[in-house]
């Protein structure tokens, strides 16, 4: 196991972490290195570096398996082998991401927590896309209420005829065609954002920005009609 170099300055924590560090020591992680020791070992050469990469992969695999276990009810139809493949692929992709972003780690959290988030992102994206594999994504605002999945917001809206009619008009009049597609898919039909980003060849961040702008416009319309609270406190800049 690599040890922390006394000549290097560890990232300074801005808040107490004693409780979490104790929890980390109790857990069965591949290695209970300090954050600085992780960085040092991963940037080193030879056996220490090889061991650190093996341990990092085990850590990431722990996270991806954890995510699969949390959501296993939604994937009861998948075989164990298939789920394990998903967990391994997600850990592999997270490993590449972590190693390529080591210089971005600024010590705002423990290294393990920072690394976990890459694993959870990869696992989450893969799971959502696997769940929607082969399913059609409805983007056409003209047909969305009639094909709404049970449990979706669109389905709930069908029970509020007047509201549905008002919202349809607001969507048609206030939103751009792209905002309409994105709002209908994400907010009304409950399409996971990573599924839509894949189908539209764009990023999660770009899609969420479009959704945010669409929501803001619709809130303005609906608040003018007295249906929702106003947007006085919303201060995020809109796309020009």
């Amino acid at each position: 196991m690599a040890v922390e170099a006394s000549t290097q300055t560890a990232p300074v924590a801005a808040y107490p972490r004693v409780r979490m560090d104790k929890a980390l020591q109790r857990s069965h992680l591949p290695s209970a290195r300090t954050s600085q020791a992780w960085l040092q070992a991963l940037r080193s050469d030879g056996a220490a570096q090889r061991q650190a990469t093996v341990d990092l992969h085990a850590l990431l695999l722990r996270a991806t398996r954890h995510e699969l276990r949390r959501r296993r009810a939604a994937f009861a139809h998948l075989r164990g082998e298939e789920l394990e493949d998903l967990a391994t692929q997600a850990a592999d992709d997270a490993m590449v991401a972590v190693l390529s972003k080591l210089d971005d780690y600024r010590g705002a959290s423990r290294f393990t927590t920072w690394a976990y988030k890459f694993a959870l992102l990869e696992a989450g994206v893969k799971l959502r896309r696997r769940a929607w594999q082969g399913r059609e994504v409805i983007l056409d605002p003209e047909i969305w209420p009639t094909v709404a999945d049970p449990g979706s917001s669109a389905h709930e809206l069908l029970e509020h005829g007047e509201l549905l009619s008002f919202l349809r008009d607001a969507i048609a009049q206030a939103l751009t065609p792209h905002q309409r597609e994105v709002f209908v898919a994400l907010a009304l039909n409950g399409v996971p954002i990573d599924v839509l980003s894949e189908r539209l060849s764009t990023s999660r961040g770009a899609l969420y920005k479009t959704l945010h702008d669409a929501r803001r416009k619709l809130r303005r319309e609906l608040s003018a009609a007295g249906l929702v609270e106003s947007e006085e406190t919303v201060i995020v800049q809109e796309d020009s």
């Binding site: 808040y15 107490p16 972490r17 409780r19 979490m20 929890a23 980390l24 109790r26 857990s27 069965h28 722990r62 996270a63 954890h66 995510e67 949390r70 705002a108 959290s109 423990r110 393990t112 927590t113 920072w114 976990y116 988030k117 959870l120 992102l121 989450g124 959502r128 917001s153 709930e156 809206l157 509020h160 509201l163 919202l167 907010a187 009304l188 996971p192 954002i193 990573d194 999660r204 961040g205 969420y208 920005k209 959704l211 945010h212 929501r215 619709l218 809130r219 609906l222 249906l227 929702v228 609270e229 947007e231 406190t233 919303v234 201060i235 995020v236």
Partner: protein, 77 residues
């Protein structure tokens, strides 16, 4: 919940948070710090404005936050 409350609840969910929220990319940058602040007993929402609101508006980021919180807390295998 009454019919009127149901309607308002549905609309608020559709329209997302009213307060300032960060986007998905910024949320990913801050999510590990947010979780550890929270587990340390610090008011993470006050220290990192806009993250909590984003979890209310983005189901994907919220799922990742919940999973990360469990892992960082040291949930045993």
């Amino acid at each position: 919940m009454t019919g009127e409350e149901n309607r308002r609840d549905l609309l608020e969910r559709l329209l997302g948070p009213r307060e300032h929220e960060v986007g998905c990319d910024e949320c990913f940058e801050l999510i590990d710090e947010y979780v550890e602040l929270e587990l340390s007993g610090v008011d993470a929402a006050a220290r990192l404005p806009g993250v909590r609101a984003h979890f209310d508006g983005c189901p994907a980021c919220r799922e990742e936050y919940e999973a990360l919180r469990e892992l960082a807390r040291g949930t045993p295998d």
